[in-house]
Amino acid sequence: MKKSIVIAAVLTAAVSCQSLKEEFQPVVTPGYDNPAPYRYYTDADFGKIITIAELAGQYTPEKPFEMPKDKDILKGAVIKGVISSTDQPGNFYKSFFIQDETGGMEIKVGKNGLYNDYLPGQTVYVKLDGLTLGMYGYKTGNYGGMGMVQVGFSDPSGEYETSYMEISYFIDRHVFRGNPNDLHPVQPKVITEDELPNAKTDTQKSNANVGRLVTLKGLRYDNEIFCLLYLDSNKDKKAAENRVFLSDSNGVDTEYGKTHGVTTWAMSKDKMTYYIEQGLWDTCKVGSGSTYAKKPDGSDLTLGDLKGDGTYPGVEKAAYSVSQYFRMGSTVIQIRTSGFSKFSDREIPEEVLDGTKTVDVTGVLSLYQGSIQFTVNNISDFAVDGKPLE
């Protein structure tokens, strides 16, 4: 009894000493020393490093799974790659791509400003235990095809096959940085049309260019865009009555045809407001092929009907992503750019739009519902006459 009292007293004293010490630290510390740089990781810290293609090979469409579940090869496995994308100009968001010799993989980290913590060109190790392998953009049927195999967290809602990791503690136990002072910025591989993946069947497993940073040369403008607008994003975004497709089949009966007059890579809120107030999309119907919103007289509602005093009060002014269609030979390449990117409002050079010149593009090659989608890091990834755009 006596002993335990003594122990308790000593413990209490020790604890209060510690807390008293910490209490006075801000008072007595004249200037805080800079913390040491982070410890970084090397191959020696990990047991089994597998390739991205090997990992992608474990995936079967519509069957996402949490690793290492039932896949012995994935037990304790790590993938290693160099970061090829950056979210700094805002065209990538909350995730980054890493690539090795066999392919590229999106790591769905789920934080803003990732380029601050994970530098382009930095080696990253991703410990797979507890992560989920899934695909984004898979679509069945004749008009469908492959999407991208991704690494993320499980998504029990079933909305997507993976979700973002988001929780710092989880991220820090799964994503490990290599030496920040030994960066090897990815040199994009120039590929030909033949080397492009078959978007119906290929994944990172079967085509090493999928998910990697590549350069496509001589792309010709295809006079078509795709963009999905919402009347009110505070309402159900999936409801047809809330959607307006700027597509190849809606409102194309204008002088602009399938381009809908959109001459920028994407549109910021400002630019979108400008476009719509020009009346460019007045003939676009609200809704989709299956359901169109109706006016009281039973006819289809168009954006022009929502013009109001000219400010289109019933249409949400927001930044929107745009897919600008190009052709490499005969293959369609959709260059998709985010309305939140810093270069969203840059005009596509006129000579490119009118077909007199082609454009060379460097970006991450990806697949979406059986199409090839291309995402650039920055405006300078476009080049005309060998000169990067500004």
């Binding site: 910490e22 801000p26 934080k111 601050n116 809602s157 400002d270 990117s341």
Partner: protein, 980 residues
């Protein structure tokens, strides 16, 4: 009866004296300043030159008289225990008995004087989310005021529910309330308890010698050397609620034979407390003053003081965070840097005040004084700033389990596995392992900055400055016109120029911070000019400015305030009746003067032309076609202010007093309530007008045979207040400004304080009750603008501000549903919304024992009906309707209802003793233990967040969790002092 005989006899004596020849006399009643109750046992000494002529001690009625005096001038010194003594020059002539009517004494602090109540007044509560400091400077002997002022401070009790700006605080005759916010300025002299001890307090609607005052009392701190208690005094104080240690030294000379007096007071406050980690003090305080009585007529005093130092602030979190940490005092502001505790929110101040006071006393019937006072210096407050990087706050909502998983499916958060990881991150059983997740991760901030090889900091510590230059002049006079009438009056002038700006406090391992607006960049990434915080620099240099440590960035503007006021009080006394009439008339103007040109609101250039950058016109206009500008002088807001008061009182038998007061006030709004977004532009809110208040009270006081007490009933209406706030609105997906006008509130209630002597000598009991009903009574109007463009996005009445409906429910087939009739849902009743952040019911019962310089006190306190501060966005019809635009009972009740905090019971005790050694030295101690039952679940305040959660079907919104502040658990304060 005895008293009546005595006074009659006195009167007879006086009459007899007159009859006998040309010798005169002096008579008066010694009364307590607050309440005018007679003071028994006051010692009155009459001197002529250096010679004492006579002395007398007052009886229960407080009256005294001297007769048989030769013509000539005399000095009357009056002293009483617990009161500040006074001296009066009296001229006796032509054999008249001079009836001074009243000699008023101001209460000094009570025997608890060494427990420094004002220590606790220095929480800078605006830092922590509170908008008000507690009202605390009561120094009177009124039982109620003592308890309400000090005893209730732990729960942030606000007297009568009023905000602190309604309490007028004067120093040496100059009103010191903050020019921009109106807040009480206690922090200017915190730690100088001795120098600032002598004060004079008027309660409620009472007037004072320093001004007309408002409806929440006024306090004048003397502050001059002759009012500081003479002698040396040293003290050491330790407490576990605020800061660990205070040491203080004080000396005052009293008035020396040569007419000089001087005093100084120094103290240091250091350390943290038992409850909130990261909160600390590192403050010094200095006071010095000299005073010279030049002749009997002229007296001059010069004082200067400052409280340089820094202190770490506390932050509020949601209950989810507190529960995860198992600690309602969790503070998200700090983290470990190299293993040492570092707070990101540190208030750093150095605001010296210098004042010169002149007193002129040409006769015993007239005196005047004038004070010039200047306040200057720096007042900064650090906070983390970041550019295009992760939110570094550990308790950011996305770091919490509730962001991934919520039981109610309508929240669309179903990832329980992710929530489990988040819960593990907040596992409190491994504080070391998870320190960098549960607290600020300084290491990460530095490492991110290290990653930028060109030295650009993505994280930096900014310091938000509010640097005042405040020059004041106040002159006043006291004039006794006749035996029954006294007049006070005065004039005050204020000139204030305050610079508001941010500076770089610490680059956290980087070499510069870029002066651009990242919120602007969200909307205008494509236009580099629009995102500039300093457009002129950008246009000159073609690039944004790189800020080094100490550089001003972000915003920089002056608040310019001018104020003039004239006032007069007249007091009439006849028999037991007294009446007071008071009025003031003033003029106030203020304007903003932008010192930098912001890209978003470029305005016109120096030649009055539009500003164009790369073909894009940057100049923008508001809905009236006026240029929106960030640089240069704004329009000037001008206000005529006035107030009037009337008071009546009747004193019966010297022990009962009945009084009633009423007042009407027309006050200017403060600078901080006038601009939509003072940070960025010159725009003033539409419909800015004066605040009108009407207040009345009725009082009964008694004091006899050791019994004393007071009961007061009051009612106050405050009308036409405005409020501005800025916040991120999810429905607009942008940062917005919210300007609310036409806020009315009504405060009414009852105050009761009673002191009763018990059967044992020295033992007494006291009881205090404050019951109030403080509610909002209007439906304010709001205008919401986008901060980036000044564009109005919403303009409507805040429908559910003053109340929201409770709907009738019925049971159909065993399921409870909202009942409907042909007109829709049936409203059962309206639930009123209350003025927040103070208990509207507060009570204390105390037992007090004093014996041979010992004192003991035990008290129990009960608090209830305290409410959470409301965010107006949630009370709009828009927020209650959700995405589908339809308001339902469920939505209204979830969004618009106001949270009432649970009642609280507290037990406190104190003990003290002082010893005299050789009648010269005095040592003593006092120990107070508060919240003995260690109740850690008492919410004292907080605020609602402004963000919205969209439901799965996007048909409705859910509110974010509110953030709370809690009262500390058991805490002590020990004070040791030595005096000679």
């Amino acid at each position: 009866m005895r008293k009546a005989i005595l006074s009659f006899a006195l009167l007879l004596l006086a009459v007899a004296a007159v009859a006998q020849g040309f010798t005169g006399g002096i008579t008066a009643t010694v009364v307590n300043r607050s309440g005018r109750l007679p003071i028994e046992g006051a010692k009155v000494v009459l001197t002529q030159g250096d010679e004492a002529v006579a002395s007398v001690t007052t009886g229960p009625d407080g009256k005294f008289g001297f007769s048989g005096l030769d013509n000539g001038s005399y000095t009357l010194s009056v002293e009483a225990e617990d009161f500040v003594g006074t001296q009066i020059n009296v001229l006796v002539e032509k054999g008249f008995v001079r009836d001074l009517v009243f000699v008023t004494l101001s209460p000094s602090s009570s025997i608890k004087e060494d427990i420094d109540d004002s220590n606790f007044a220095e929480f800078d509560l605006t830092d922590t989310g509170y908008s008000d400091a507690p009202t605390i400077l009561f120094g009177s002997n009124d039982v109620y005021s003592k308890v309400a002022g000090y005893g209730f401070s732990a729960v942030r009790f606000k007297n009568r529910g009023y905000n602190s700006e309604t309490e007028d605080v004067y120093l040496a005759g100059v009103k010191m309330n903050d020019a921009l916010t109106g807040y009480s300025p206690y922090s200017l002299w915190s730690g100088l308890n001795e120098a600032m001890r002598s004060k004079d307090t008027a309660m409620g609607l009472e007037t004072s010698e320093y001004g007309v005052g408002g409806f929440n009392g006024m306090t004048n701190i003397s502050g001059i050397p002759s009012s500081v208690r003479p002698g040396w005094r040293f003290s050491v104080l330790s407490n576990s609620a605020l800061y660990r240690l205070r040491v203080m030294a004080n000396y005052a000379s009293g008035q020396l034979d040569n007419g000089w007096s001087y005093a100084f007071n120094v103290s240091a406050r250091v350390g943290g407390n038992d409850w909130v980690k990261g909160v600390y003090y590192k403050s010094l305080s200095f006071y010095g003053g000299v005073e010279k009585k030049i002749t009997d007529e002229h007296r001059l005093a010069l004082i200067a003081f400052a409280t340089p130092g820094e202190r770490g602030a506390q932050n509020a979190s949601t209950q989810e965070v507190y529960d995860l940490m198992g600690d309602n005092m969790y503070n998200s502001n700090w983290g470990y840097q190299n293993g040492k505790v570092r707070n990101s929110r540190v208030r750093r101040t150095f605001e010296p005040v210098i004042a010169l006071k002149y007193d002129f006393t040409p006769s015993d019937g007239f005196s005047a004084s004038a004070t010039a006072l200047y306040r200057t210096g720096k007042n900064g407050y650090t906070a983390l700033d970041w550019y295009d990087a992760m939110d570094p706050r550990p308790d950011y909502y996305r770091n919490l389990p509730s962001y991934s998983y919520f039981e109610d499916e309508d929240y669309n958060r179903s990832n329980d596995e992710k929530a489990a990881w988040a819960t593990e991150m907040w596992n409190r059983n491994y504080p070391k392992t998870y320190a960098n997740y549960q607290h600020l991760n300084w290491d990460r901030l530095y490492n991110v900055n290290y990653n930028n090889k060109d030295g650009r900091s993505k994280y930096a510590l900014e310091e938000r400055h509010v640097d005042q230059n405040d020059l004041n002049f106040a002159g006043s006079f006291k004039w006794r016109l006749t035996d029954f009438m006294k007049v006070n009056g005065g004039l005050s002038l204020k000139w204030n120029r305050t610079e508001n700006y941010k500076s770089v406090n610490d680059l956290l391992g980087g070499r510069y911070y870029l002066n651009v607006d990242q919120f602007a960049e969200r909307d205008f990434a494509a236009n580099e000019a629009l995102i500039q915080n300093d457009l002129d620099y950008f246009l000159r240099n073609g690039a944004a400015q790189k800020m080094e440590k100490g550089g001003k960035y972000g915003y920089d503007y002056l608040a310019q305030i001018r104020r003039a006021k004239a006032w007069a009080n007249a007091e009439f006394n006849k028999g037991g009746f007294s009446a007071t009439v008071a009025a003031s008339l003033g003029y106030e103007s203020f304007w903003r003067e932008g010192l930098v040109r912001k890209g978003l609101f470029a305005g016109l250039d120096d030649n009055g032309d539009e500003i164009v950058y790369k073909g894009v016109t940057l100049t923008s206009y508001d809905q009236y076609g006026r240029v929106i500008t960030s640089k240069g002088k704004s329009g000037v807001s001008r206000f005529l202010t006035y107030s009037g008061k009337l008071g009546l009182a009747y004193t019966l038998n010297g022990s009962h007093r009945f009084s009633a007061n009423l007042g009407y006030f027309n006050d200017a709004p403060t600078f901080n309530q006038a601009f939509i977004s003072a940070r960025t532009r010159n725009s003033i809110i539409d419909g800015l007008t004066t605040i009108k208040s009407f207040s009345t009270d009725v009082n009964y006081e008694f004091s006899a045979n050791g019994f004393s007490g007071r009961i007061t009933g009051y009612c106050t209406k405050i009308m036409d207040q405005t409020d501005v706030m800025s916040f991120y609105d999810d429905s607009q997906q942008s940062f917005t400004n919210f300007a609310m006008t036409g806020i009315d509130q009504r405060h009414m209630g009852i105050e009761l304080g009673v002191k009763v002597p018990l059967f044992v000598d020295g033992l007494s009991a006291s009881g205090v009750l404050s019951w109030g009903d403080f509610i909002y009574t209007s439906t304010p109007h709001m205008v919401q603008t986008v901060d980036n463009s000044a564009k109005i996005v919403r303009e409507e009445d805040v429908k559910y501000w003053k109340s929201h409906p409770e709907f009738k429910k019925t049971t159909i087939g065993g399921i409870e549903v909202y009942d409907q009739d042909a007109d829709g849902y049936i409203v059962k009743r309206q639930i009123r919304h209350h003025v927040p952040s103070t208990p509207q019911l507060a009570a204390e019962l105390a037992l007090n024992y004093r014996y041979n310089y010992w004192f003991f006190e035990v008290n129990g306190q009960y608090f209830a009906h305290s409410y959470l501060d409301m965010n107006p966005l949630y009370r709009t019809s828009f927020a209650c309707a959700g995405g589908d635009g339809v308001e339902t009972p469920q939505e209204i009740e979830a969004m618009a209802s106001q949270e009432e905090f649970a009642p609280a019971f507290l037990l406190n005790a104190s003990v003290g003793k002082s010893w005299y050694i050789n009648r010269k030295y005095n040592i003593g101690f006092s120990l107070e233990v508060k919240n003995i039952l260690d109740n850690r679940n008492v919410r004292t305040g907080g605020y609602e967040q402004t963000r919205l959660i969209k439901s799965t079907g996007k048909d409705r919104y859910y509110p974010f969790d509110p953030k709370y502040f809690y009262m500390q658990g058991a805490n002590y304060m020990l004070n040791l002092y030595f005096r000679f």
